[in-house]
């Protein structure tokens, strides 16, 4: 037998003074790291219910990582009554660092016995020596009920031992120890066990004696003549593993497995036991394996969240932070993501402080997505959470995005001023880049378009034109975003061109737009540009196309002649027009010059030889006809190119 281990316990006395009219509270506590509020939270959290028969003992835990502790609460009648005439129960609570207890390791019975001689209040924390658990002695107490209970606990459901009301307290405590000894010692960092629970209250005790099993709990009958079978895979595997060897050898092996474990990791446990020659997990000086996996910490986070143990969560997050952010392997990331999704780590968690929630989100996101947030990562998050709450959006915005599209997609979950503020921080080039490329997200297109149009209307951003030109004026993206509404597509492109160049295009700008590589969606862009250029657009466009067609001079001339309409017959004389001619000395009244057209005379330059400048002023019906022909030609040429 090994030497006793020295453990130092903080303690608290829970009860109420005689004649008190208020609820139970902390009467005294050790002046250690834990204060009254912390002790109160722990004791109420693991309360087994309203006492009827005392004394009773409840083993529990709190904290994770370096702060992990084992707790033992001994509840007895005080022999006093409160102000309402009700008997007062006093609870003596002791907690020791898990790492110290695991060094033995020590049993619940031994811990209880070590503190039994101390009356509370005492002066400061108590240091006692506790003998380590003896596998031989414990194995002698293992029976069918204990084996059944141990295996059933791996389902993560509570287990209630019934028909044990008459069993003395010490025997019940030893049974709890026997069950716990049939599991890896590390599970005690999450195990709660009590010699009695009240099944009508929603307690958090995993293993207990009770008159009836509580809802959702497995029942094990005290002194059962057979092992309770169960179809649950992990139970069957564990029962099989427990059957391979003597209980003394198994208990000894399990006692050495002191790395803290969660019941959520139950699937691994039969394997731990089955690997008889497996390595013993050694304790580092602070009590844990130095190979602390992010997955373990995520599991610990989930445990804390499920139990609403937010103080413990803070500690786990610290460790997660220390683990650092790195790029995980695909396998690791898959594993993290599965756990994050299955255990709802990115849920809303009401009641948590906003600061803690943001830290939780940031660290969990780092584990699930790595050091940068991609669209794929974002989609995975939204698939799991639905529309994210603003704290989650903030946390995601704090991760460097892989592309501006990620930022814009995130901004789609913000409203009003918050979205506007974040958008202002993005350059116009980023806004265009966010829309460009695959996949096209109509929501992103709308946001970026609205912002670009607003910036353009203020005339504030010369960057827009260049950015749009570099991405084909987003014609392809607009076409994909609004596949069923041609008018809307045209409107959006016109607005973008206005944002880039102002309300009308000059020749040079028009040529810039139509000089873009032609694609399936160029028609709408060309029509948009033409509508902003004005009546000379078709001929200019045809001229541009002729220039790009790579034709010989003769062919070009011939092509130009073919689209030139024959001279129109003289128009009927109009008295009013004649009067105008007279007044203006035989000249037509000049058209007012459009702003933004630096060279209005040029735009009506003849497109072929033999058309003297004076004859280019065609009557209106001829101009319209020519425009229609030119547009048809454009479409034909575009389709030809695409073929």
């Amino acid at each position: 037998m090994s030497a006793p281990v020295r453990v130092t316990a903080e303690w608290a006395l829970w009860g109420k003074p005689p004649d008190a009219r208020h609820d139970y509270t902390i009467l005294e506590c050790s002046a250690g790291r834990l204060g009254r509020d912390e002790f109160g939270q722990i004791i109420t959290r693991f309360a087994p219910g309203t006492p009827m028969e005392l004394p009773q003992v409840t083993a529990s835990w709190f904290g994770t990582g370096e702060n992990a502790h084992l707790g033992l609460a001994v509840q007895e009648w005080s022999g006093q009554q409160d102000g309402m005439g009700r008997d007062i129960a006093i609870t003596r609570y002791f907690c020791v660092p898990y790492a110290q207890a695991a060094r033995g390791p020590v049993s619940y019975e031994a811990l209880g016995a070590a503190f039994d001689g101390y009356r509370l209040p005492a002066n400061g924390p108590l240091t006692v020596e506790v003998p380590p658990l003896d596998p031989h002695v414990i194995a002698g107490r293992v029976d069918h009920a204990a084996v059944s209970a141990a295996a059933l606990l791996l389902t993560d459901a509570p287990v209630c031992v019934v028909r044990g009301e008459e069993v003395p307290l010490l025997e019940r405590l030893r049974f709890l120890d026997a069950v716990a000894a049939l599991l890896p010692y590390g599970l005690r960092a999450r195990l709660t066990a009590s010699t009695w629970t009240d099944s009508s209250v929603r307690h958090r005790i995993k293993l207990s004696f009770a008159k009836h099993a509580k809802d959702g709990a497995y029942t094990v009958v005290w002194g059962a003549p057979e092992i309770t079978a169960h179809r649950h895979d992990v139970v069957g595997r564990y029962l099989a593993a427990l059957g391979e060897g003597s209980y003394e050898e198994i208990v000894g092996r399990l006692a050495r497995m002191t790395r803290p474990l969660s019941f959520k990791q139950a699937e691994e446990i039969p394997g731990l036991l089955g690997a008889s020659a497996g390595p013993t997990v050694m304790m580092s000086p602070w009590g844990f394996s130095s190979e602390f996996k992010v997955i373990d910490l995520l599991n610990a986070c989930a445990d804390c969240l499920e139990d609403r143990e937010y103080e413990g969560l803070d500690g786990v997050l610290d460790q997660l932070r220390r683990a650092g952010t790195r790029r995980f392997t695909d396998e690791e990331q898959c594993e993290h993501r599965a756990l994050i999704r299955n255990r709802g780590l990115l849920a809303e968690w009401p009641g948590m402080s906003p600061g803690l929630r943001r830290s939780l989100y940031e660290l969990v996101l780092a584990a699930g997505c790595g050091p940068e947030l991609t669209l794929d990562g974002l989609e995975w998050i939204i698939e799991g959470t639905g529309p994210p709450i603003s704290d989650l959006v903030d946390a995601m915005l704090n991760i460097p995005p892989s592309t501006p599209a990620v930022t814009l997609k995130l901004l789609s979950y913000l409203n009003g001023e918050r979205r506007a503020g974040r958008l202002q921080a993005l350059g116009s080039a980023d806004l265009v880049k966010a829309v460009a490329g695959e996949p096209v997200d109509p929501e992103i297109v709308e946001i970026a378009h609205g912002e670009l149009v607003q910036r353009g209307s203020n005339g504030e951003d010369p960057e827009i034109a260049g950015a749009l030109r570099g991405h084909g004026y987003l014609a392809a993206e607009v076409a994909r975003a609004y596949p069923h509404d041609g008018d809307l597509r045209l409107r959006r492109l016109v607005q973008l061109l206005i944002a880039a160049y102002g309300p009308a295009l000059g020749r040079k700008q028009f040529e810039e737009v139509v000089a873009c590589p032609l694609g399936p969606h160029s028609a709408a862009l060309i029509v948009a540009a033409a509508s902003l250029y004005g009546p000379g657009a078709p001929s200019l466009l045809f001229s541009e196309l002729l220039g790009r067609a790579g034709l010989s001079d003769a062919t070009r001339r011939e092509a130009a002649q073919r689209v030139t309409p024959p001279p129109a017959p003289p128009a009927p004389r109009r008295p009013f027009a004649d009067a105008v001619r007279r007044w203006t000395g035989g000249r037509e009244s000049p058209r007012p010059e459009r702003p933004g057209h630096p060279d209005p005379p040029e735009r009506s330059r003849p497109i072929g030889p033999g058309n003297p400048r004076k004859e280019r002023m065609l009557p209106l019906p001829a101009m319209v006809g020519l425009s229609v022909v030119a547009l048809v030609l454009v479409v034909v040429v575009v389709r030809f190119f695409l073929w």
Binding site: P18, D19, R21, H22, D23, Y24, T25, D37, G40, Q41, I43, T44, R45, A47, P48, G49, T50, P51, M52, E53, L54, W77, G79, Q80, Q81, D82, M84, G85, R86, D87, I88, A89, S148, L152, A157, D198, S199, S200, V201, R202, H203, A210, K211, H212, A213, K214, D215, G216, A217, Y218, T219, A224, E226, I227, T228, A229, H230, V235, R308, G351
Partner: protein, 352 residues
Amino acid sequence: MTPAVQPDPGQSERSDHSIAIWGAPGSGKTTFLAALNIALILKKGPWRVIGADGPSTDFLIEMTTALSQYQRFPPATGALGHYRWFLSRRSEPPRRSWRRRRKPPRAWKIGLDVLDAPGGFFRAERTGYGTDREELIDNLAASRGIVFLFDPIRESKDGDAFAYLHGVLAELAGRMLADDEFGDGMLPHYLAVCVTKFDELRVLETAEKLSLLTPDPDDPYRFPRVDDADAEELFEALSAVSAGGNADMVLPALKQFFRPERIKFFVTSSIGFYLDPLRGVFDPDDFQNLVPEATGTAGGAQNPHDPHGPRAVSGNRFRIRGQAHPINVMEPMLWLGQRLSSGDGDAGKAGG
């Protein structure tokens, strides 16, 4: 190997007839529930309370035993308790008629999910150990009937009834009324406001001074009663003597959030008045059932099976002097149960 008894998650589903008990620490919430079975037994009427699952049946048995056999109050509630009961009304044999045989009346069964929280859970400040506060609000939001216990004795000493009301009420309203689910902006619960400890001298005297005491001709013991119609008046009078001076805010606060037509007042006592076994009727000169016990051992009856056993005592102790005769304990539960069963408040008066 024997097959494992499967956990049954379905059992935890709550019925629509969930009733929560609301009151300050020591206002007698658990004792009120403990007295329900005794009240129904003593009434000798058709109503019975039956546990719907093992733990709820255990509670009925243990509490009835503590109050009737050991004449002791239940210990202070340590955690949020959840009991599933049925209020069951026996079908009576059909009366014979010369015209035709009448059909036997239908048996009634009202399901009750009762939530019993430690009084401290209702404290206004969310400080201390309130990790279960969210659960409490969840449960209150899911319930549709509330028994609100107003302890006039505690109020005269501590004056904190309002403190144990307004915080939770504000949170409950915030949870349930924020999204306009209930069109009129009022909480949907039926509310039985119970003025407790009617057996206390000061409460009885106040009722007498206000001329609110009425005899009940059906009561063989001639216990004094306050009619439900007058209970609100007694409530207001007792609120006026609050030590904190703000008990008069309790009623307006309740009426601000609950529909007035869904509030009913009752004057209750879980242990009732002392009844001299020899006289067999109420004695105005000797009626106190809760008496101080200076020294001695715990409990009224010294029973070897008393789970607490004989214990050394210290401080002021009380004991229940005789058999508990609960007053107006079953009535609020039946009223709530019937209102919740009918769904629209059309159910008739509590039978029995």
